[in-house]
């Protein structure tokens, strides 16, 4: 179980989004989700890439 899943093993995104995030070195657990079922969409990842949340 990698960064594609929540700590209790739930999927964060569908495979195309997971792959895209990996390729862009984006940790999905940090991306706010707007998709159905609380899933992270491709647009969510792109928005996050454009303006990553400042590291605390």
């Amino acid at each position: 179980v990698g960064a594609e899943y929540t700590s209790n093993g739930q999927l964060l995104a569908m495979p195309s989004v997971r792959e895209y995030a990996r390729k862009n070195d984006i940790d999905l657990t940090q991306v706010p989700a707007t998709g159905r079922h609380g899933h992270i969409t491709m647009a969510d990842v792109e928005n996050f890439k454009a303006s990553p949340a400042p590291a605390a």
Binding site: G2, Q10, L11
Partner: protein, 468 residues
């Protein structure tokens, strides 16, 4: 011996042309790599030559023959039916295996993959020797991929020879045996048991565990067991195979079960107790590649070994020995070798058994959710309630969904019954994409199909079943 004096330089060297190697070769070529693939036996590897494909061909022949033996409710009667097993074997070999492997060879050529015949052996982290009879050449590679697969395990006192055969032997019998003894009732053993049972053999399965078809749970395999029983298959569980004694006419297998020693006599004894990775005769000790205790090559999720420019996939790495796992890893490795930041991020891996009544499973099971203490449940929709199954006269079995209670997410599925092998794909797609019961319910499934029972199962999981 002709020894190439100079090393041949290669970009991407792939060792083994099974569903791991050939898929990696084609994909790597598509991604622009110059690829050389080394194969010591047959293009297509175990799967296409002596595994997945020829076994399904014999199973298919068995289905038709047994339908004719057992009668049917459709009003079709047959005065006499025979099987000419020589023809069956010729069809399997020429029309199925050779066509398919010939096709793969053409695809490799189309993608300008160079095929080198011979056995590869690592000299060090940068070169392999390829030996073909008296010929030997050194290849110096920028990147290599090990996809050398696996071979059957031999057990003491059951040396493969004569009437003690491995799966390859069982697939290539010249006649349908009168009595086939099978040691090991895993998927391979159980599939071949079903095939020869349908072709007319008496079958005895000797299994060490307390049940056959390990990996599929008791409830799931019950229809398969019932079917074996109905067809006179004898299954001895918790048994230990002791030895085989053969004459030129038969073989007698001694085994221990229930604390006593017994014998059974048959035409052949198939030993299918597992497979071991082909990593022991590859010269890996000349490299820095790390192996696990069981001889598997250790890789990260880009299929990279401890030697960064050497990759490994398929039966030589951890995980179930399945062709589609090998092919999936092949695509990850091909991309990674091409410099992409590629990772295997798959969530679930389906498995299918082409037993006489098909089995399929993906993701969580009733057992796994109990063990993991997940807040999840299991819902079972029977094919007996399916109109389509009735019209096919195949109403045994069920579709079982494992769903997450808080979200309704589908996290597992098992199927036993007609077309389980094809139906599991939709559920695999659902799980891999995080779909929920609702998403399945709200997808219109055509009527009358077996596929619509997946929708029925989702409605059952939602507490609003229509057809049960």
């Amino acid at each position: 011996m002709v020894v190439g004096t100079q090393a041949i330089n290669v970009d991407t060297l792939i060792i083994g042309s099974g569903p791991g190697g050939y898929v990696a070769a084609i994909r790597a070529a598509e991604l622009g790599q110059k690829v050389v693939i080394v194969e010591r036996d047959y293009i297509g590897g175990v799967c296409l030559n002596v595994g997945c494909i020829p076994s399904k061909a014999l199973i298919q022949a068995g289905h038709l023959y047994s339908t004719l033996q057992h009668g049917n409710p459709f009003g079709v009667s047959v005065s006499e039916s025979k099987i000419d097993f020589t023809k069956t074997q010729e069809w399997k070999q020429n029309q199925v295996v050779n066509k398919l492997t010939g096709g793969v060879e053409l695809l490799l050529k189309k993608h300008k993959v160079a095929i080198v015949r011979g056995e590869a052996y690592f000299n060090d982290n940068e070169t392999v020797n390829v030996i073909n009879g008296d010929d030997s050449h050194v290849y110096r590679f920028k990147r290599a991929l090990i996809a050398t697969g696996s071979r059957p395990v031999e057990i003491p006192h059951f040396k493969f020879s004569g009437r003690v055969i491995d799966s390859t032997g069982a697939l290539n019998l010249k006649d349908v045996p009168e009595h086939l003894i099978i040691i090991g009732g895993g998927v391979i053993g159980a599939e071949l048991a079903g095939a020869y049972m349908n072709l007319g053999s008496k079958i005895t399965i000797i299994e060490g565990l307390d049940h056959i078809l390990n990996g599929f749970d008791g409830e799931l395999i019950q229809p398969v067991l019932n079917n074996f029983k109905k067809n006179g298959v004898e299954i001895v569980t918790e048994a230990t195979a002791v030895e085989a004694n053969q004459t030129d006419k038969d073989v007698t297998v001694t085994y221990e079960a229930d604390g006593t020693t017994k014998t059974v006599n048959g035409d052949y004894c198939l030993v299918s107790v597992g497979r071991r990775p082909n990593t022991d005769q590859l010269g890996l000790n000349n490299t820095n590649i790390k192996l696990s205790k069981r001889g598997l090559i250790e890789v990260n999720d880009s299929m990279q070994t401890s030697v960064k420019h050497i990759y490994a996939i398929g039966d030589v790495v951890a995980g179930p020995a399945l062709a589609h796992k090998a092919s999936f890893e092949a695509k990850v490795a091909a991309a990674a070798m091409g410099g992409e930041d590629a990772h295997d991020t798959h969530y679930v891996l389906p498995a299918v058994a082409y037993t006489n009544i098909e089995l399929a499973t993906v993701g969580e099971t009733p057992q796994s959710i109990a063990e993991k203490k997940l807040d999840a449940k299991s819902s079972k929709f029977p094919f007996a309630a399916s109109g389509r199954a009735m019209t096919m006269d195949q109403t045994e079995g069920f579709i079982r969904l494992i769903t997450d209670n808080p979200t309704g997410g589908i996290i597992g599925a098992q199927i036993v019954g007609p077309e389980a092998s094809n139906l599991i794909s939709e559920l695999t797609l659902a799980i891999e994409n995080g779909l929920t019961i609702k998403d399945i319910e709200l997808t219109i499934h055509p009527h009358p199909t077996l596929g619509e029972e997946i929708m029925d199962a989702a409605e059952l999981a939602a507490g609003l079943p229509i057809h049960v």
